[in-house]
Amino acid sequence: MAGSAHAALAKTPTDGADTLLMLMGSALVLVMTPGLAFFYGGFTRAKNVLNTMMMSFFCMGLVGVLWVVIGYSLSFGTGFNSPFIGGLEFMWLNGVGGPLGDAPLADGFAISATSFALFQGMFAIITPALISGALVERINFKAWFWFVLLWSLFIYCPMCKMVWGGGFIGPFGSIGALDFAGGTVVHISSGVAALVSAALIGPRNVWPDRTRPPHNVPFILLGAGLLWFGWFGFNGASYFAAKAAGFSFLTTTTSASAAMLTWCLIEWFKGGKPTAVGAATGAVAGLVGITPAAGFVSMGSSILIGALTTVACFTAIQIKAAIKFDDSLDTFMVHGVGGTVGALLTGILAVKEYVPADYFPLSAKILEESGNFGMFIAQLKAVVFSYVFVGIGTAIIIWIIGATVGLRVSAEDEERGMDIVSHGEEAYEPMTN
């Protein structure tokens, strides 16, 4: 949902239930990041699991600070008077609220501004963490630090402003695209960044001939479960209103269920066995697919979106394997492709009555005048722009880091394992210890 934060000084009083929803939603979204750490950690080799998990976990530290200092202001400020980037007026969250009484977010929203800033911060944390899946088992951790810092400031914050902060992609801008909870801002942007950065950093030295299967499949299931749990906050709280949360909770879970079921059925049909890794991946694909649509489509459509997203992501993974591209943990194939399919299906399946003009002025107008075809075109424009902006921006950041701190560990260190090389730790103690 659009976050035309602070667009107007609020006249609506804060509502306890709505604000509580935001606080609960924030906690749920935060738990997705350690969930993602387990999800990704299970896939890697035992000697790289801590590094893989740290690449997600560390974002809670770095982006958690960055968001308060300047990220929120760049995403939701208006100081620069630009459709691409916010301003500096909310640096250190100045003017957002205080302990003795929060200001409401904006006219028409009954949530406090601090709870909105917190909720959005959790999205900012998990988005770069998602990208790590494409780069694990070879990126130098110092390069990762700089990547998260620069990418958050120069890619995530502008994307957030453009889609949710009243910028030109979203319903207050010139394209009028819909993105309920981050199909474009979170999943397309992380997916495209993953694709570009994996291409530029190059494949793992052991890939593809000496890659190993996931070292801990139960971690993958645990991570997928935590992601699903956290996604209730991700989508459920994105209407910013307790009375409307049940609907997007429901579409979220029906899509994930349908997607998991579809993935298992495909595997059953193709290979004779539904796999645990497939079930976990299918669920995540369904969650990604419904994210841009969760509050805009019918319950039946949510099942369709889950099923179609799974088919698209499954196919993308087969193509990736065939063309031998080393996106280590299929970040683009699940988040990029899933987010794209979800964003486009949002245009096709959006229900006019679920897109009220007072919250989504341009989108409602498009639906009224050009119907779902017009909305599909708007979504397509948003997708194409996001691919170009995130793709080029990420390439520049990767190039700068490559030219300065260096991107990869040495081949010898890659062989030793990232845990001991980057952190001086091991996940599992030797048997003789």
Partner: protein, 112 residues
């Protein structure tokens, strides 16, 4: 004295242990091991990508007995271990030159 070493399926270890105890064998050592034989590993599929697992997880059972009990031990191991499928494992019989019980310094058959 002989040492009987058997590489068997992990799922069969409980049945083998019971058969050995029922046959009067009072001690054994088991180890988790990995390896391959004629079947040359197995193929696993994750997210559509195939991985060849060259070293398959097995359990090694080691039992030291006097020569006249070797056939009994082989029967106790091979019976419950057999499924008839590839990968049931192998049994090796090795000569043992000496056995010493550390606690009492007894040696030979008395130390088994």
């Amino acid at each position: 004295m002989k040492k009987v070493e058997a590489i068997i399926r992990p799922a069969k270890i409980d049945d083998v242990k019971t058969a050995l105890v029922n046959a009067g064998i009072i001690g054994m050592t088991i180890t988790d091991v990995r390896g391959f034989g004629r079947q040359k590993g197995q193929v696993e599929t994750y997210r559509g990508a195939e991985y060849t697992i060259e070293f398959i997880t097995k359990v090694k059972v080691e039992v030291v007995v006097e020569d006249d009990k070797v056939d009994t031990v082989i029967a106790a191991i091979s019976g419950p271990s057999r499924t008839g499928e590839i990968g049931d494992g192998k049994i090796f019989v090795l000569p043992v030159e000496a056995v010493v019980r550390i606690r009492t310094s007894e040696s030979g058959a008395a130390a088994i």
